[in-house]
Symmetry: C2
Subunit: 391 residues, 2 copies
Amino acid sequence: MSGIIYLDSISAMPPRPEAIAAMQPFLTESWGNPMAPHAAGDRPKAAVEHARGQVAALVGADPNEVIFTASGSEANNLAIKGIGGAGAGRGRRHLIVSAVEHPSILSSCRALEPHGFTTAVLPVDSTGRIDPARVQSALTGSTALVSIQAASGEIGTLQAIAEIGAITRRAGVPLHVDAVAASGRVPIDVAAMQIDALSCSSNQLGGPPGVGALVVRRGIRVEPLIHGGTQEHSRRAGLENVPGIVGMGLAAELVRSEVRALRSRLDPLTARLRDGLHSKLENWKPTGHPTERLPGHLSLVVQFVEGEALVMALSRDGVAAAAGVTCRERTAWRASPSLLALGLEQSLAQGAVVFGLWRGNTPEEIDRAVVLIAKNVTHLRALSPIYSERT
Amino acid sequence: MSGIIYLDSISAMPPRPEAIAAMQPFLTESWGNPMAPHAAGDRPKAAVEHARGQVAALVGADPNEVIFTASGSEANNLAIKGIGGAGAGRGRRHLIVSAVEHPSILSSCRALEPHGFTTAVLPVDSTGRIDPARVQSALTGSTALVSIQAASGEIGTLQAIAEIGAITRRAGVPLHVDAVAASGRVPIDVAAMQIDALSCSSNQLGGPPGVGALVVRRGIRVEPLIHGGTQEHSRRAGLENVPGIVGMGLAAELVRSEVRALRSRLDPLTARLRDGLHSKLENWKPTGHPTERLPGHLSLVVQFVEGEALVMALSRDGVAAAAGVTCRERTAWRASPSLLALGLEQSLAQGAVVFGLWRGNTPEEIDRAVVLIAKNVTHLRALSPIYSERT
């Protein structure tokens, strides 16, 4: 994306050239059906299994526990409907989630409600953290699934997953963790954290779009979302996206070796952005937790400015950022449920902007972005009748 | 796939180099999120919309009627569960399908049965054809959806979709057509055939795997299978597989201009294969309809031979074919429900082999394949105690 200062890695991570290169043989040459009982299926089948191992290794799982999907959203749907929904067979129709989950989690829960399910939506504190004790007290004898994100792509806050995992494991209730924003950015180990199911996305690891995975601990029952053939051990039917899976696998392997060093690379850049804004701009504040947050993530609300307008103005100046969760229509912006859950007023929540730095950003880009953000906020405020009245 | 005589285009179509080339900019450069409200999303968004038009044009639909999925199987699931399942809201819980549908159709119906749905599975004649009058008589006041394939990938038989469409449209019941095997091989027009929803697969058009589409007529309600963001007009959430969608779009455009000429290219090759086998081999017969069938498709049952064993033996000699539907585990082969529906005995049905020719095959390849098929059948029969007893 030449010429753009790209600070929107939460919406889409720039793909790693190695991952894209690894896909090519499976687009041009080894394009057979992995289930074909002849030689054309051999290499694609082996490649899918190799990628399964690479994704499993990233999160400390067994390769057989990886179910490839087409996106993180599909993985989240499969977790809620396929694991949570399967609770109905044992008379369990209660779900526990947090107020800051991704729309694919919250709307999957709503999709189960006509089938007799109820959802407990746990509140968060002003930093976006869920108190693990609240998970404990929300558990009932009919809880089918607890689903808590590892980190919010919108406010950056990391959750105390290991503490929550200890509670759910003790209660014998499966814990699903939406790690779409977190995986590749912070270390995650499903065994150590007592996670029963985990969603991740190829794109967020630096692989191609069109692939994701749900990692499900052995022994946890998953009802398929897509029925048909016996692909993915009959847990997700359909011709495998072999090139995409190969790209995701390699991206997982690459980020695994780098994830511990990522914070030391991105923290100074993120501080530079935050400090630069503090020095050049008034009437804004960061959202989410001050320290327990994703590396490279700076989310904020800017008073007297609409986030969407600021993001569009920045785009004209060559800076890419997000105005909250990108999984919405360009024109249908409303105040985000996650930000309202932090206790922010509607007017402030509408001024939300998210910067997602990535390993390719430079100090020079950050300095330039600070100048352009300050310029555009000043310009937009000059047009705002509310701001004029106030000053 | 150099060195292989590839006669398994039903399992996986060799991708078109033009489609693979068209994907590249969206893997390496224009990888932004199409929903991002900044410049990085502009080109991906425009490319998805362009591809939507290309897919729509292939089947005579409006671009807004195209919902991209990750596979033909997902499209079939979305049709049955999302359109059929939505019938529950109007008290309609009756589905009509045929006995020769793909596993993704039949198992999606079964998935709705615990929710009060019943499925009428229409029989076929010995050529695999559904009598449209049977659709008429199966319709009830509570029929939510009729789903009949355009053609079987397993037995090649084409169905009288336009006749069925006239019946379902008159009855005001939506008709879904699984056109995964048919689209790109025979002309299809959703308006002329009165089809309300149609599934197709990128791979079968010569595009990359990991993409499919459900084309849904305006006004037909679809409940999403994957909830979350507002992608695909809120009918299918998740980050779009932009490169895959672009590849599917170009493949659709290419096959659209060639589909009418395909039969004249493939019919002589298919006849050459059939006639060659007739001259060199005894105790086999073609399955499916003799004339109303997919171009390039020859399906057969070979007596005293297991289809799976023959396909594996052929693979060792460099010929790729299928032993029925490929969407099953390599080791879990059972007699196919479709073949049993034709009235074939179990023992014959186990000898099923499917040859799916494609535009790249040559007469020389066919002649060589005939020799190798005859050789391997002879060899396998020599090992068969049943065949020895009989002769």
